[in-house]
Amino acid sequence: MDLEEVKGVAWNARLKLTEEEMQEFAKDLEDVLSYFSVLDKAPDTGKHDFNPVPISNVLRDDEVARDVDAGSLRDSMDTYQDMVRGPRLT
């Protein structure tokens, strides 16, 4: 895996890597991806279930309830005049 490829993947993952990290991860990922190629030899069952056991949707009753106080969730966030502050969108 070349450094440009690592840089592209890191951008998708919202990670800024140092030159040293990129060198190291390029080697590590190369090793691991090479190992993953064993999957090419595995038979394809054609079954692609996302969970190991069957799961069905479960809907809760539509009842008004307070689970967690919204105010307590805001405690861990940066707020300004009861609004959550975030970075610029552009």
């Binding site: 919202r14 990922l29 190992y35 064993v38 999957l39 279930d49 969970n51 970075p87 610029r88």
Partner: protein, 444 residues
């Protein structure tokens, strides 16, 4: 009756072995002991009154405003939560050396690893009498540390225990379970933590938990699982097979070719899911905040993630992002899903004749930290080759101590069909009825 456990004793233990990442300052609630009991929760399980950092610097300072369902159930059953146990960052590790908050030390030898990622949970179970640790496994994070610390690690069927309040690693793999000292603890606490929970749909399809009514008569032992083992592990395992035979449990040597694909399939799925789960950590909602708010959101998020994720977290996020990218999704992700079904089918085939599948838990005894430092990432991943298969399939499994080498414990791992936890309880009762587990020292 009062408990001999004091905060001072816990602090002393923590200074020596570092099992906790957050510790109670008050044990006055333990005065009615029993019926009250003390328990700990792995640091990726949310609990009121404690930080929940999942071993990550990016969650430093996060105090959840609610209890995870398992914590609520344990508290309702008279449990007193004494602390959060240290772990590899987000569960990413085999040796519990990837936490931002120190490294727990093996109670049998402080120069060696506790195993990961529930290292603190296994260490404190080994150190404290009558303690129960809530742990969590994605690819072996209960079995591995239980094996290295010489205690019992129980991973229930995927979906048996609600994960509401668990900080996700990989949603199709995460399971909350127990690390304890005795099978009687499993019989007591498994029914408490199990059961449907409307807050976690994956817990709502489960059949009733049965504890009794099955006597294991035979186990399948895959030949593929006996390769590349430390000779001491193989010797202890073979000796255990002999003792099991005396207890009426016959071992049948079998071949399980799909095991050769399990590790790759697991790491593809686990890192793919982890890379999406970790997208929520961006310096706004939990834990540490980002720097300059005037930056664009991409720069802001990237900066805080790059500064606060550890090396292994970055490695796995990169790996998972890569395997989900256009052009690779079919080759890696979809193939890994197909392989999971293949392995489930092969386990089910084996368990048509035999009642469980048995292997050693880990290929070696707990390694020294100096040895771990020399291992490449792929070598670390490959150490999971025995614990990954049952985790990938969601089948319940248990690691039991089965021998010792140089004073260090060796574990064996039984795997049962989905929802058949009672088979594991049966083998645990029978094995521990005769095998003497050595604990490194108790204080309460």
């Amino acid at each position: 009756m009062s408990c001999h456990l004091t905060v001072e004793k816990l602090v002393t233990l923590n200074e020596r072995y570092h099992p906790f990442s957050d510790l109670t300052k008050d044990l006055s609630d333990l005065t009615d002991y029993p019926p009250k009991f003390h328990f700990s929760a792995k640091d990726n399980i949310c609990a009121l009154g404690f930080q929940a950092r999942a071993g990550s610097k990016i969650l430093d300072g996060y105090r959840p405003p609610f209890d995870a369902t398992v914590v609520r159930k344990m508290r309702e059953a008279d449990g007193i939560l004494i602390g959060k146990t240290n772990m590899d960052e987000f569960g990413f590790g085999t040796f519990c050396t990837n936490s931002a908050f120190g490294v727990p030390l093996n109670p049998h030898d402080v120069e060696r690893s506790c195993g990961g990622s529930s290292g603190g949970a296994a260490a404190i179970a080994a150190l404290l009498e009558k303690h129960v640790s809530l742990a969590e496994s994605t690819g072996g994070s209960i079995s591995c540390p239980a094996s290295f610390c010489g205690v019992i690690g129980f991973t229930p069927t995927y979906g048996r225990v609600s994960r509401y309040g668990l900080i996700d690693y990989a949603n199709s793999l995460d399971k909350i379970g127990l690390i304890v000292r005795a099978p009687s603890d499993l019989r007591r606490f498994l029914p408490i933590i199990s059961g449907p929970d409307k807050k976690d749909p994956t817990s709502c399809v489960q059949p009733r938990l049965e504890l009794d009514g099955f006597k294991v008569k035979s186990v399948a032992v895959p030949e593929e699982a006996l390769r590349n083992l430390d000779p001491a592990v193989l010797q202890a395992f073979e000796a255990a097979l002999g003792k099991l035979k005396e207890q009426g449990i016959e071992a049948h040597r079998v071949s399980m070719p799909s095991l050769g694909f399990a590790l790759a399939a697991y790491y593809v799925l686990a890192t793919s899911e982890a890379s999406t789960n970790l997208a929520r950590y961006k310096g706004m909602l939990f834990g540490v905040r980002g720097g300059h708010i005037d930056q664009s959101f991409n720069d802001y998020f990237s900066e805080v993630r790059s500064a606060n994720f550890g090396k292994e977290a970055k490695r796995r996020v990169l790996l998972g992002t890569y395997t989900r990218m256009v052009g690779f999704r079919d080759r890696y992700y979809l193939k890994a899903l197909a392989v999971r079904q293949l392995i489930i089918k092969e386990y089910q085939g084996l368990m048509e004749r035999d009642d469980a599948v048995l292997t050693p838990t880990m290929p070696f005894i707990a390694p020294r930290f100096t040895e771990i430092a020399k291992m490449k990432p792929l070598e670390v991943y490959q150490a999971d080759f025995l614990t990954v298969p049952p985790n990938l399939t969601g089948m319940p499994h248990i690691s039991l101590p089965c021998g010792y080498h140089d004073g260090m414990p060796i574990g064996m791992q039984f795997v049962a069909p989905h929802w058949e936890e009672r088979r594991l309880l049966d083998v645990a009762d029978r094995w521990c009825g005769e095998f003497k587990i050595r604990f490194p020292g108790a204080i309460a």
